[in-house]
């Protein structure tokens, strides 16, 4: 028996496989394909204090081994989540992590305060790296000061596990990671999407209504693995790795680089059952390599 449990800043996950915010809805959308109870946890989509319509269509463009999106945090607001979604998903035997977004520090705090009383929500992921909103979002995530401000505020406002989701669109991601660690963040997750763009050359205009959008998918994986490796060496808090994980091999790659847990994002679009295959692969990999505890492979390439 391989021990697959990992601890992310106080949160005990039955296995290291999470889903990435914005790629898994509220989990329910995937219930026909997978057993949600077999996930380490799932991160539900970016939640803001107020309802947001998001950006106009078109919001998506396919690129080589990837996709650009510019959803812009469309969601019905935290109250709608609490009243309508939470009751439906609160009995899942897995962790539900809410991704929290805001345009101002006060917004982040307000959402945190509303989430704190919910028994099932034992962790939040704080999005300081959304490339698709004008205010807040990535603006906070591209300077150590901005990131620290958000981390400090949510640390006070949410007494349970705080994971800060980092932007890759920076010169030195370790600086941002250290800044949020210093403010008491329990963990960091990375990477959010790379800012990208694609043009329809026949119509001579960008594919996205917002011109630029966030690049995800296996195309970005080498960048994500590199940043996870850098950050894992730079901080003492756990690192949750994501960015182009398509299968179990990729999940292991992130863990060897230093991720204690991983998130599956865009791959859910391609194969809605992929998370179960990844859980199985990880167990099989450990058995094949004589590893009795998954924690033993975290950061193994540095040994």
């Amino acid at each position: 028996m391989v021990k697959l449990g990992v601890n992310i800043g106080g949160l005990n996950l039955k296995n290291p496989v999470l889903t990435a915010s914005g790629t898994f809805g509220y989990g329910e959308e995937f219930a026909d394909f997978i057993d949600l109870n077999r996930l380490g946890g799932f991160v539900i989509k970016g939640t803001t204090i107020n309802h947001r319509e998001g950006n106009p269509y078109p919001r998506m463009a396919e690129t080589p081994s990837g996709m650009l999106n510019a959803v812009g945090l469309q969601n019905k607001g935290v109250d709608y989540f609490i009243d309508n979604i939470y009751p439906r998903i609160k009995d899942v035997d897995s962790h539900v992590i809410v991704n929290v977004s805001g345009a101002t520090i006060d917004d982040y705090v307000a959402v945190c305060e509303k989430l704190t009383p919910l028994d099932k929500i034992n962790a939040i992921e704080v999005n300081i790296s959304c490339p698709n909103v004008k205010q807040g979002g990535m603006a906070f995530g591209t300077t150590a000061d901005g990131a620290a401000q958000v981390a400090r505020a949510v640390r006070k406002a949410f007494p349970k596990t705080v994971i800060i989701k980092l932007s890759p669109n920076v010169t030195d991601i370790t600086e941002i990671a250290r800044a949020v660690e210093a403010e008491g963040a329990d963990a960091v997750s990375l990477i959010n999407t790379l800012l990208g763009m694609a043009i329809d050359i026949e119509r001579q205009r960008p594919y996205l209504s917002t011109i630029t959008g966030g690049l995800s998918g296996p195309a970005v994986r080498p960048v994500a693995v590199r940043m996870v490796w850098q950050v894992a060496k730079a901080v003492n808090i756990p690192v949750v790795g994501l960015g182009g994980i398509m299968n179990g091999r990729d999940a292991i790659e992130f863990m060897l680089a230093g991720a204690r847990a991983i998130q599956v994002g865009t791959a859910n679009f391609v194969d809605p059952s992929v998370t179960m295959k990844i859980v199985d692969y990880i167990e099989d990999y450990c058995q094949r390599h004589g590893i009795s505890n998954i924690n033993d492979i975290v950061g193994m390439i540095n040994q």
Binding site: F24, G25, E53, P56, Y57, E62, N268, F269, P272
Partner: protein, 257 residues
């Protein structure tokens, strides 16, 4: 409705047009195809294309229960669909199905029902027409195309009901766009339409002017097809909604056209 991830085998790839092919698929394990409703679509995985990453949403053209066949009408719309068009008999494809909502059943069997299809937009109308006929309705069809050779599956439609055709060059039926076809001047109670956006918007205008109930099937670009990614949204009277789950079929009154 429960969704499934299935491996389907290509029974036949029937190249019905330079730009279109009819893929006839059946489950590799022989199990009966799940329930699927007219207007729904499937998400087809694409192998063999370096540039294609996401599944391709394809309308359900027909479900042939006698043979346990799923029909997909595929248009050459880029590298992904070209890879699908290149599939050969006995190749396997992985499909997630069924996706989305469906056309709403008319209440009165005496209603005059017109199914309008343009280009590959005829695809859902075949399955829907067959279902309507099976339920005792008398659907009529209006097909728009550039030229006679571009009128797809005409024989199949004629088996179900009366077919009106508009071609831009007049080589079949009336010359002009579907919106000027004489059938639209007759009494019609309900229109179902699928085709290029300009055509659907023009039909919606005709329907509104004549107070005809009208449903259209949208083809916004999609990633997940499951309502998770929020990429395929249409701006409706309820705000941005996912075409993949709230649609693809919308009553025109829900849209901001």
């Amino acid at each position: 409705m429960k969704k499934y991830i299935l491996d389907l085998k290509v029974v036949e790839n029937r190249r019905i047009h330079e730009l279109y092919t009819l893929l006839i698929l059946t489950p590799t394990d022989g199990t009966p195809l799940p329930e699927m409703l007219p207007g729904q679509f499937v998400q087809v995985a694409v192998d063999g294309s370096k540039t294609t990453f996401l599944r391709r949403p394809i309308s359900i053209n027909n479900v042939d229960r006698d043979n346990n066949h799923l029909w997909l009408l595929v248009r050459n719309a880029g590298e992904g669909t070209r890879a699908l068009m290149a599939l050969k008999a006995d190749n396997n494809v992985n499909v997630v199905l069924p996706m989305g909502n469906s056309f709403s059943m008319p209440s009165n069997v005496n209603d005059e029902i017109l199914l309008v299809g343009g280009g590959v937009g005829v695809a859902p109308m075949l399955y829907w027409g067959a279902q309507l006929k099976a339920k005792g309705f008398t659907p009529q069809f209006l097909i728009g195309a550039r030229s006679a050779k571009d009128v797809l599956q005409l024989e199949e439609f004629e088996k179900i009901g009366k077919v009106y055709v508009s071609t831009e060059d007049g080589t079949m039926g009336e010359k002009g766009l579907v919106t000027t076809n004489a059938v639209l001047a007759s009494k019609i109670d309900k229109i179902y339409c699928c085709g290029p956006a300009p055509m659907m918007k023009a039909i919606a205008k005709v329907a509104k002017e004549n107070e005809i109930v009208c449903e259209v099937s949208l083809e916004n670009m999609m990633a997940c097809g499951l309502g998770a990614c929020l990429c395929c949204v249409e701006n409706t009277v309820k705000g941005n909604v996912c075409v993949c789950t709230e649609g693809p079929v919308f009553n025109i009154n829900e849209l901001t056209w």
